[in-house]
């Protein structure tokens, strides 16, 4: 076919103890959005890192516009026209937008000095072509995640990339930002760019992609035309079986109130927040990214100081705890960012899982490695974590498998309250369903659960009751039939003070 821009054949990549890619072949056509799907650890990111010059394959060939190429570094990849947009953005926050776009390839004048004017003008042209609402001189550190992503995409424009790879680009975007990203992708597409798109969000896949290639354990399971397949079909290819259901709501069996906060206020982040959750109840906290939900639960957990408010734990008012006291009381917080807040990346799974509970897994201050091993094994099996062993540093794991270790470290000590901040970010459909099932089971076993999620179907699917949060205030409370998509959308898009009065709980 003539419109194939990029094709790879027979790519194999082995890490110590893991065959991440086995004889992988696939191709990308000009002007298509090609989804790459697969379970956590299937090898998607590895394949893309091979294309972007970050990993050297053990075997296989890469052909770009009918010419075989060897990609030895990200700079080479960019020169050849392949650009990878990482999930963890890789910009220099102190530099300007223009400097970032041309990082490593700044235009110079005859004397070898930086040609600032050309740099600015070229960057501006690239930004304009994408319809960006910010200029080339802004310092990147001041931009939102979505705009930083735009800067990365502007690189594609500036370097005339033939192939642009997105690795889970929407994980931290608000809905509006996601729309904008899709518009940008459409623009690149109509300019004839070939796009590879990795995501675990099924609705996106069916909305914007043309073809889907599924990887499983490093092998290609097949390629389908998106329009000719459906969710069930792709899921079956990914996990090798049918998925009975995607969401699980716990049986309603509410017991005593575990946590209540009243008038919780943090000067600049949120104010006057009241909420309570009972044992056996799953409370959903829905809002747009930036509404203050994470800050709220971090304050409850003692990671931030509250300016005002009361905290009632199991019927008794207590002073705001330190994180240590919170853990000892029986609170658990699965934070939103696994790499920064969730894991010590250089440590193995065993040490990460027991980190919040050192006293529990030791006697007289000496760690009990046998018991650590046991709990590691238990949760590796429950959560189906792909790892070569308890000592393998978690930085070597795929994103989704890392997330499962964050869950494991908080589940293993049987807390009374578990707060889950975006618990399934970056997790594949199969495991997602398994985690939702687990959440339901925990609640049925008598845990109080708070779930923060920006994914509407997830909050609607698992919660008994939903609070919406807008600009630092609780803007609505919904139960039973009142929990509808439209209700949530209305609640988060209205000014906070008005919505409070329309509380329809």
């Amino acid at each position: 076919m003539t419109d194939v821009i990029l094709s790879v054949a027979g790519i194999t990549k082995t890490f110590p103890g893991v065959r991440a890619l086995a004889d992988v072949s696939f191709d990308v056509r000009a002007g298509e959005v090609h989804a790459l799907m697969g379970e956590n650890g299937a090898g998607k990111s590895t394949l893309m890192k091979v294309l972007a010059g970050l990993y050297k394959p053990d075997a296989g060939t890469i052909t770009l516009r009918d010419e075989p190429v060897t990609i030895t570094s990200p700079l080479v990849a960019r020169e050849k026209g392949i650009l990878l947009i990482h999930q963890e953005l890789s910009l220099s926050p102190e530099l300007s937008v223009a400097e970032n776009i041309y990082l490593g390839a700044w235009p110079t004048n005859a004397l070898g000095m930086l040609n600032k004017r050309k740099l600015r003008a070229d960057a501006k042209a690239a930004l304009d072509a994408l319809g960006c609402d910010f200029g080339p001189d802004v310092r990147v550190g001041t931009l939102s995640i979505a705009r930083q992503q735009m800067v990365e995409i502007a690189r594609a424009q500036a370097f005339n990339a033939d192939v642009v790879i997105f690795d889970e680009p929407t994980a931290s975007l608000t809905d509006g930002e996601r729309r904008q990203l899709f518009a940008t992708i459409a623009r690149l597409k109509s300019a004839g760019v070939g796009i590879v798109y990795i995501s675990h969000k099924m609705d996106e896949i069916f909305e914007i992609t043309d073809r889907i290639t599924v990887l499983r354990d490093g092998q290609v399971q097949g390629t389908r035309i998106t329009a000719d397949t459906d969710l069930a079909g792709i899921t079956r290819m990914m996990i090798g079986r049918d998925l009975a259901s995607y969401f699980h709501r716990a049986r309603e069996d509410f017991r005593d109130e575990v946590l209540r906060v009243e008038g919780l206020t943090h000067a600049s982040l949120f104010s006057g927040v009241d909420l309570s959750v009972r044992a056996g109840e799953v409370l959903g906290l829905y809002g747009l990214v930036g509404a203050g939900r994470s800050e709220l639960v971090e304050t409850i957990f003692g990671l931030r100081h509250a300016d005002a408010g009361r905290l009632i734990w199991k019927g008794q008012e207590i002073p705001f705890p330190t994180p240590r006291q919170a853990v000892d009381l029986g609170m658990a917080l699965v934070p939103e960012s696994r790499k920064e807040q969730g894991l010590v990346l250089g440590m193995g799974g065993r040490e990460n899982v027991t980190l919040p509970h050192l006293a529990m897994f030791s006697s007289a201050g000496v760690m009990d490695r046998g018991r650590e091993r046991e709990v590691f094994d238990t949760y590796r099996d429950i959560l189906d974590i792909k790892t070569t062993g308890p000592e393998q540093p978690v930085e070597k794991l795929s994103g989704g498998n890392q997330q499962k270790f964050v869950l494991a470290k908080w589940l293993c000590a049987a807390p009374s309250l578990i707060i889950l901040d975006e618990p399934t970010r970056g997790i594949d459909v199969g495991s997602k369903s398994a985690i939702h099932e687990l959440i339901a089971k925990l609640a049925e076993d008598g845990l109080a659960v708070i779930v923060i999620s920006s994914e509407m179907p997830e909050v609607l699917g698992v919660s008994h009751r939903i609070l919406t949060m807008t600009e630092g205030r609780i803007s609505g409370s919904f139960t039973g039939d009142g929990m509808t998509e439209q209700a949530l959308i209305d609640a988060v898009s209205q000014p906070a003070n008005r919505a409070v009065q329309e509380d329809i709980a």
Partner: protein, 317 residues
């Protein structure tokens, strides 16, 4: 593949270079590989080594302790001077307390107040120089009646032919290794060095962990000062000068990363011992004393570079 080569170099390169060096010195200098000289090197190394055991805790938290050089001076002056005033028991007790106290001050400033470790310990380095001069009035101190005190055992004694300071160093290494590897404290030290934010989110008392690491460093330096005072039976105001860098060089040479989160006591023991043999070898080969410093410096740079190279190498596996 260039990468395997890099990793092999990091893992075995320094040891191989060291082996070559030992062989060269053994050929070039008489008396290098005699038992007497080897024990002498081990005894010399026991002071830097004992300090390094403590500083390793600080380095694993991802921080530095540059104050140990003048801390060693001050504590040696204290132990010698107090020996004359209150006798060996009291002198030892006071020295240990002083070491713990100085470590605690560093710990509070760096851990609790979150001040920059480099600045705090560098300031402490010069502050303690001042305190030493004030305490000693600028003159050297000596143990009176050095011939008859049992205090001599720490620096000069030996057991079954092995010098006591070497026993203290290696015994200390066993204890320190146990703490760093097996205890909840050691785990917290590793976690804080690996990812401080995640440690905080896990309920680890990060500030207290860092502070405690500095206290351990102070304690180790106090023990080293007792060995030093006992060995020299006196103290000058510059006796510990430069020790902070030798200690750091040994730790890095052993392969403990300055970025924190990884490292072990045994690496430190190996690094410090290697450094001792290098310096001793250079002296025996007839190089001037200052060449030692040049070589220490080159070794530090090389080790830091290899550390970084390995980190970068990780990206391109």
């Amino acid at each position: 593949m260039t990468i395997d080569w890099q990793q092999a170099l990091r893992r075995h390169g320094l040891i191989a270079a060291f082996g070559l060096f030992l062989a060269a010195v053994a050929v070039g200098a008489e008396g290098f590989l005699t038992l007497g000289n080897i024990l002498d090197v081990l005894r010399q190394v026991s002071i830097t080594g004992t300090i390094a055991l403590g500083v390793t805790f600080v380095v694993v938290t991802g921080r530095l302790d540059l104050s140990v050089g003048s801390m060693l001076t001050l504590l040696t002056v204290i132990v010698v001077d107090q020996h004359n005033a209150v006798g060996p028991f009291g002198a030892i007790a006071l020295t240990l307390l002083a070491g713990l106290g100085i470590g605690a001050v560093n710990g509070v400033l760096v851990g609790l107040f979150r001040l920059n470790a480099l600045i705090v310990t560098l300031a402490m380095l010069s502050l303690l120089q001042g305190v030493t001069l004030w305490y000693s009035g600028g003159s050297n101190v000596n143990v009176a009646g050095a011939g008859e005190t049992w205090f001599a055992v720490f620096g000069r004694g030996s057991l079954l032919g092995v010098p006591v300071p070497v026993l203290i160093f290696l015994g200390g290494a066993v204890v320190a290794s146990f703490f760093l590897k097996r205890t909840t404290f050691g785990r917290a030290v590793h976690a804080v060095g690996g990812n401080e934010t995640a440690s905080r989110f896990s309920g680890i008392a990060t500030a207290r962990t860092v502070a405690a690491a500095y206290v351990v460093s102070g304690l180790a330096t106090a023990i080293a000062a007792i060995i030093m005072g006992s060995r020299v039976m006196g103290a000058q105001n510059t006796i510990g000068q430069g020790y902070e860098l030798t200690v750091l060089a040994g730790i890095i040479l052993g392969g403990t990363s300055l970025m924190g989160g990884s490292g072990s006591i045994w690496r430190t023991v190996i690094g410090i011992t290697m450094l001792g043999f290098i310096q001793n070898g250079l002296l025996l080969l007839g190089f001037e004393y200052y060449v030692q410093w040049l070589v220490s410096w080159v070794v530090i740079i090389a080790a830091v570079w290899l550390d970084l190279a390995a980190k970068r190498g990780r990206v391109l596996a």
